[in-house]
């Protein structure tokens, strides 16, 4: 399989039956310079640099939900911003397949849209819902001017809101409703790709469910391709078809959802899975204990980035920097010992059976 390796990027379509790509990045790096001299970055001492991303290859396939998972310092938010074009990478290429060469900002923004994490800062408090939608519809000439209002109502209905939302201002809506508005805004331009940066993290549990189902239905009915950034693995498991795990600016593992959760092949992935607080299990699993915290991207460890916290690190790990390599169909891992890790036991599944729920199935 050629789709997720670090080989020099030849944007070939993936082999086999995988759907074609809609978005692909190759060898993406993003470096921030720290320290400002008297004349900004143009003079004076330059201190350390922060490498938020260091050589990431990723592709998003048509119609799939790909989850991007990682903790602080992983670079997932930076990668998301690069994918939508809000941030320029310091190295590497972004291939938006299907886009003409030299396409303008308008065309690019029509293809990829973003939904943000914080429902309270993602909508301009001084612009009404109707104005917001109309502005976008007109700018991109999505529909003729006479149909703008009708289209706005259609968009609202699509996300579960009604016509009476049009004259209202964001402050009149709850968090869950605001996220719906944010999704409606993203859908207004009829994008092919949606990048959702932790869209449900700031919402109450019961509200999350409605937004997750909304994403699911958008995927089914509109054929949207969604890059879903999250830290809640239960949400990820529920919604996505593939999962990519990031650590300190690198992709460390990527596989289909079912595969990655039943057969994780990177110690960090295992640690992430083990740290999920379970609703139905008895106790913590102690399989893969990691100590310490995600280090700052300013001080990247030598060799394998994860080795200082890795419970199975060997000498080699201190010196060799592993690259993401395929280890199975659609499954790649950046661990030197990927093939030798003990078989994943997982949590003793549901020792405590749940009688009430069983009946519903």
């Amino acid at each position: 399989m050629t789709d997720v390796t670090t080989q020099p990027a030849v944007p070939a379509q993936p082999e086999g039956n995988a759907p074609p790509s809609v978005l692909r990045v190759a060898n993406i790096s993003k470096e921030y310079l720290l320290g400002q001299g008297l004349f900004g970055r143009f003079g004076g001492a330059k201190k350390a640099s922060l490498k938020a991303l260091d050589g990431v290859d990723l592709e998003l396939r048509r119609g799939e939900v790909l989850a991007l998972v990682g903790e602080s310092g992983s670079g997932k938010s930076t990668l998301a911003k690069i994918l939508v074009g809000a941030v320029k990478p310091t190295g590497g290429d972004v291939h938006e397949l299907g886009l003409a060469e030299g396409a303008g900002r308008l065309e690019r923004s029509r293809r990829v849209q973003m939904v943000f994490q914080d429902p309270y800062s993602s909508l301009n408090p001084r612009i009404s819902v109707g104005s917001m939608l109309a502005g976008l519809l007109r700018l991109h000439r999505v529909v003729p001017p006479g149909e703008v209002r009708a289209e706005s109502i259609r968009l609202l209905n699509r996300v579960g809101l009604q016509e009476d939302a049009l004259p209202a201002y964001p402050s009149q809506f709850s968090g869950g409703q605001r996220q719906r508005l944010a999704i409606a805004r993203a859908l207004a331009v009829r994008p092919d790709v949606l990048v959702a940066d932790e869209p449900v993290s700031a919402l109450d549990v019961s509200v999350q469910a409605t937004i997750l189902e909304l994403f699911r239905s958008l995927q089914d009915e509109l054929g949207l391709s969604i890059l879903f950034i999250a830290h809640n693995l239960a949400v990820v498991q529920h919604l996505s078809q593939r999962v990519a795990v990031m650590y300190l600016g690198r992709l460390v593992e990527i596989a289909d959802t079912a595969e990655i959760f039943s057969n994780p092949r990177h110690p960090y992935t295992r640690a992430l899975i083990d740290s999920i607080p379970r609703m139905s299990a008895d106790s913590f699993t102690d399989q893969f204990e990691v100590e310490g915290e995600p280090p700052s991207p300013i001080n990247v460890p030598s060799g394998c980035r994860f080795h200082p916290r890795c419970p199975v690190a060997v000498d080699r790990c201190r010196t060799e920097d592993p690259s993401l390599s395929p280890i199975g169909p659609g499954h790649a891992s950046a661990c030197l010992l990927a093939a030798e890790l003990p078989v994943y036991q997982g949590v003793p599944a549901l020792k405590t059976a749940l009688p009430a729920l069983k009946e519903e199935q």
Partner: protein, 295 residues
């Protein structure tokens, strides 16, 4: 799909909801704001209708009626040139208010634009503007103003130029700071991602949210400018006589403080009242426009 589509706006909060808002009361209940509006509004009316409020001329000299005390004919007496003090007081309102407001306009526009662009685009523009700010900020206000007036000569234009040169800096700093914060808001990024141009984003998304702080500052700046004008007038560097102006009235009335004390003190009171009114207006506006009410 197993979820029922949620009814929209079913407990719709009305526009005033915002629990975090400091003033849930409507604007007309805001004490500072009302006091400010009354006083400043009153002053503006006085300025506009000055000729109707008094029949005397503010500049014609009547040397046979010098230094009279308050009477039915001259409510505040006459000055050393026989001019009715009350008339001059009223007519000064025109001068001082007008200059105060206009003097703020140029720094407001220039400073806000430069600061806004610097904050929004960053990079070398930001560096250049900020170094300029640092340079101009180092000059003490009155020294600069007096020096410039000496160089350019007394008169209205000089005052505008002098004040503009010195005070644009504050607006630049304020607006730049606000823009830096506003830039971080997701909705600004969303607007750019939506395909809107920088101009549109600045005008519709950033502008309204940052200018309120500049406006609030402008209120206090008007007070400062009026003080500057009055001071210049007092020092003889301001509006040339015989135009009535509070500062020159105070200077002129100084000599007669023991006999006709009202000549110097009443204009001084006028300045105080104007400043108070503007400050209250600024406070009231600040409550109204402050970030607490944005959400």
């Amino acid at each position: 799909m197993t979820t029922t589509p949620a009814p929209t706006l079913a407990p719709l909060k009305t526009g005033r909801r915002a629990v975090r808002s400091r003033s849930l009361r409507p604007w007309y209940r805001n004490g500072s704001l009302m006091a400010g509006i009354v006083i400043v509004g009153g002053l503006v009316l006085v300025a506009i209708f000055a000729p109707l409020l008094t029949s005397y001329s503010p500049i014609t000299q009547n040397l046979d009626q010098v230094l009279q005390g308050p009477s039915a004919a001259h409510w505040l007496g006459t000055d050393q040139f026989g001019r009715d003090v009350f008339t001059r007081l009223i007519w000064s309102t025109r001068v001082d208010l007008r200059i105060g407001f206009l003097a703020v306009l140029i720094p407001f526009v220039v400073g806000s634009v430069l600061g806004g662009l610097a904050g929004y685009f960053g990079g070398w523009l930001d560096v250049v503007v900020m170094r300029l700010v640092d340079i101009f900020f180092a000059f003490p206000f009155y020294v600069m103003v007096i020096a410039l007036v000496f160089v350019l000569g007394a008169g209205e234009t000089s005052i505008y130029l002098a004040i503009a040169t010195v005070s644009w800096v504050s607006y630049a700093k304020i607006v730049r700071g606000e823009v830096l914060v506003a830039k971080q808001q997701d909705y600004v990024m969303a607007a750019r991602l939506g395909g809107f141009s920088h101009v549109r984003v600045l005008a519709r998304h950033i502008g309204p949210n940052v200018l309120s702080q500049a406006i609030i500052y402008a209120m206090s700046d008007i007070v400062q400018d009026i003080m500057a004008i009055v001071t210049l007038g007092y020092l003889g560097l301001g509006i040339a006589p015989p135009t009535a102006e509070w500062g020159s009235m105070i200077a002129g009335g100084q000599e007669f403080i023991t006999t006709q004390w009202q000549q110097a003190t009443i204009p001084g009171l006028a300045v105080v009242v104007t400043s108070l009114g503007l400050s209250w207006l600024g406070d009231g506006l600040s409550d109204l426009l402050s970030p607490d009410r944005r959400k």
